[in-house]
Amino acid sequence: MIYSSKNMDGNHINDLIDVLLYEAEILDNHQYDKWIDMLTEDIEYKMPVRITREKEDKETDLELSKSQYHFIDNKESILMRVNRYKNEYAWSENPPSRTKHFITNVRIEKVNETESIVKSYVLFYRSRRDNAYPEIFAYERLDKFRYENNKWKLAKRNIIPENSVLPLMNLSNFL
C-alpha cells in the first residue's frame, strides 16, 4: 500500500485505508446492507463513459462523456439495485459473481476533521460460472469521505474507467 501524507493526521490516514479495505471485503462478500451503511444519505456514485479522443482534444474532462454513464446513482437507486440482488430471480447474480477488488496507489489528497478526498486505483477481478478465465477491469476511484457519527462514510465516488469499451459481460457488481 502506497500513500502520501501531506501534513495530515496519521491516525486518519490509517483509518481511511482501513475503510477502503473493509469496503472491498464486504463488496466481495456481497454484504450489501453493510455497504449501504457506509454510504452517506446524499451519496453520489458515478462512472462516466470513457471516450477515446485525439491528444489535442485530450483533457480528462473531454475524455469523459457528459451524456452517457455506466453508473449514475444515488442512495435510492443503489438501494433498488441492492434489494434486487437479494432476490433469487436476479439472474445476473444467481449464481453470484466471485469478485476481488484489489485497492492500490492510495493517495489521500486532503483530510480534516470532517472530510477527506481519497484517490485510489482498483483492479477488479471477477470469475463467473465455470469459466477458467476471469474478467479483469481497472479503474481509478476519486472518493470523498465524510466523518459522521465517528465513522468515515462515502459521500461521493467518481469512477474513471480505463476502458472505453467495457471488458465485462455486465456490470452486476459495485465498483
Binding site: R53, H70, L166
Partner: protein
C-alpha cells in the same frame, strides 16, 4: 510535418499542395466473394424447411461457418444503422463505426452532407482514425501523410510531384466510399456498391412502426454517446429477443417488474399486447401495462398531440390505440430499440416510472462474441425534467448494469453456449403458432401477445439472405 497520429486538422496543412479540384469522390469497392460450402448449404436448406415448420435449428446461432457466411451475405448487403445525425451535428464532425468488423468513418462534410468512408487509406490500408469521435476539416493518414478533404478526395501528399507525379489516376487515391442513406435522422450504410434495394424498400412496412419511435416530434431526437461492452454471445440471440420476444419479460425480468407499482400490472391488460412480423426480417412487439403510450401521458401529454402532426393518420391511430406501455423492435439484421416506462429513484409508484427510448446495435465480433452499442435518445423538445428522469430510468434499467438488461445477458450467453452442442437441436419457437393473424389496421402479420412471430421472421430472413 505535423507529428503523431493525426486526424484532427483545423486547416489544410501548409506543406501539402493542392492538386485537385473539389470534385467528389465516387469510389465504391466491390464486396468479397463468398460461396457456401456443401456443409453450410445443407445446413441452411435444412434450416429453411425447419423454419417453415416453426423450428429454429440451434446451429444457426453458434456455428462459426454460418457466421462467416453472414459477414458477406447478411452484413455486407444490408442497410446497417451506424449513427444518428445528432451525434455529428456540425460540419467536420465524425464518428468511427463498424459494419461487423469493417471500420468506417461517418463524417459530416464542410458542405453539411453526411458521407461514410472506409477507415483505411487507399495507399496502404492504414486506418486513418483511432479516436472514436472528433471534428476535422481534413483527414490525414498518419502513415505517409496523404491528406483528404471531408468529401474523400485526395488533396495532396508530401513531396507529391516526386511521389505520385502529375499524370497518375488520382481516383486510385480517393477514399473508399460506402453508400449511405438517412431515414428520420438515422444514418444507415450499405457496403454493397450496388445495393439490391434502397433504404426505404429495405425498411418496407417497418417504416410504419419505426416512425412510432423516431418521428413523434418535429424537433427530432438527440442521441447520447454510446455505452459499449463486449459479451460472449452470438448477435442473433439479441436480435431474436428484440424482434419478437416480449414473453420472456415477466420471468427473465421478474425483479425488474417487481419495481413497478402493483396496481399497474394486470394480466388481462398485458394480454392485449401485439407482436408483429413486419416483413424483411423486421420484428416488433407491443405490450400493455398501462393505457398511455409508453407512459408519456404522465410526463409529457403534449407529445401525444405533437405526434399527430408528424405521424401518418394510420400510424397515429395505431400508436394511441395499441402501442401502450412498451415497444420493442429489431431492424434486420442487428439494430434494436426499446421505448417503455422504466423505474427511476427506486420505482414502486407510478410517479417513479418514466418513459425511456434506447437504440442499440448488436455489433458482431465473432460467432460467440458481440459488442453491444447502446444509446439513449430523447426528443429535443422534451421537458427538462423528463430529459433528466428519462435518462436515469434508462441508465438504471437498460444498460450494462440495468436492472432489466443485466439479466438478458445470461440468456443470450447460455443460448450461445448451448449452441456448441454436437447435436442438431431444433428449437420450438412455436409460441402463438396456433393463433390466427389479426387485423389492427397496421401492416405486416400481427398476432396477439405472446407469440414468436417476430423472432421467426428474423430467422426466415436470415436464412433467405444466406441462401441468396
Amino acid at each position: 510535418m505535423v507529428q503523431g497520429d493525426i486526424k484532427t486538422i483545423r486547416n489544410k496543412p501548409k506543406e501539402v499542395n493542392d492538386i485537385v479540384s473539389e470534385d467528389e469522390s465516387f469510389r465504391y469497392e466491390e464486396i468479397l466473394e463468398y460461396n457456401l460450402s456443401e456443409r453450410a448449404f445443407k445446413m441452411l436448406g435444412e434450416a429453411e424447411s425447419l423454419i417453415d415448420d416453426g423450428y429454429v435449428p440451434l446451429y444457426l446461432l453458434s456455428d462459426p461457418e454460418i457466421y462467416e457466411a453472414e459477414r458477406i451475405k447478411v452484413f455486407a448487403s444490408s442497410w446497417n444503422f451506424l449513427a444518428h445525425e445528432s451525434e455529428i451535428p456540425y460540419p467536420g464532425d465524425y464518428v468511427v463505426r463498424y459494419i461487423e468488423q469493417t471500420p468506417l468513418i461517418v463524417v459530416r462534410g464542410e458542405d453539411n452532407k453526411i458521407r461514410v468512408f472506409l477507415n483505411a487509406c487507399p495507399h496502404k490500408g492504414r486506418e486513418f482514425v483511432k479516436a472514436e469521435i472528433g471534428n476535422t476539416s481534413h483527414i490525414r493518414c498518419p502513415y505517409h501523410g496523404f491528406v483528404y478533404n471531408t468529401k474523400g478526395k485526395l488533396v495532396g501528399c508530401p513531396v507529391q510531384k516526386h511521389a505520385i507525379g502529375d499524370v497518375i489516376n488520382y481516383n486510385d487515391f480517393n477514399m473508399y466510399r460506402v453508400n449511405v442513406e438517412i431515414y428520420k435522422g438515422f444514418i444507415f450504410a450499405n457496403l454493397d456498391p450496388k445495393p439490391k434495394n434502397d433504404l426505404s424498400t429495405f425498411l418496407g412496412d417497418f417504416k410504419f412502426y419505426f416512425d412510432l419511435v423516431s418521428n413523434r416530434s418535429e424537433a427530432g431526437l438527440s442521441f447520447t454517446n454510446p455505452q459499449r461492452w463486449v459479451v460472449p454471445f452470438n448477435w442473433k440471440a439479441a436480435a431474436d429477443n428484440f424482434a419478437g420476444d416480449i414473453y420472456h419479460a415477466f420471468t427473465a425480468h421478474a425483479t425488474g417488474y417487481a419495481l413497478f407499482p402493483k396496481e399497474t400490472i394486470k394480466a388481462n391488460t398485458v394480454l392485449t399486447g401485439l407482436q408483429v412480423d413486419a416483413g424483411n426480417g423486421h420484428g416488433i412487439a407491443f405490450s400493455r401495462i398501462i393505457d398511455s403510450p409508453q407512459w408519456y401521458g404522465n410526463w409529457w401529454p403534449e407529445l401525444i398531440r405533437k405526434a399527430k402532426n408528424t405521424l401518418t393518420e394510420s400510424e397515429y391511430k395505431f400508436w394511441v390505440k395499441y402501442s401502450t406501455s412498451t415497444i420493442i423492435g429489431n431492424v434486420f439484421p442487428n439494430f434494436g430499440f426499446l421505448n417503455a416506462g422504466m423505474p427511476f429513484k427506486g420505482g414502486s409508484t407510478a410517479e417513479a416510472i418514466a418513459p425511456i427510448l434506447t437504440f442499440r446495435v448488436w455489433n458482431p465480433i465473432s460467432h460467440d462474441k458481440t459488442q453491444i452499442w447502446n444509446w439513449f435518445a430523447i426528443e429535443n423538445d422534451a421537458p427538462e425534467d423528463l430529459k433528466k428522469y428519462s435518462y436515469l430510468a434508462y441508465q438504471h434499467s437498460f444498460t450494462a448494469n440495468g436492472v432489466f438488461e443485466e439479466d438478458d445477458m445470461e440468456n443470450w450467453i447460455t443460448q450461445t453456449h448451448a449452441g456448441n452442442s454436437m447435436l442438431k437441436l431444433k428449437l420450438a419457437e412455436k409460441v402463438g403458432e396456433y393463433k390466427p393473424l389479426i387485423d389492427v389496421g397496421a401492416p405486416g402479420n400481427v398476432q396477439s401477445y405472446p407469440s414468436d412471430i417476430g423472432s421467426m421472421s428474423f430467422w426466415r430472413e436470415l436464412v433467405n439472405k444466406l441462401l441468396e
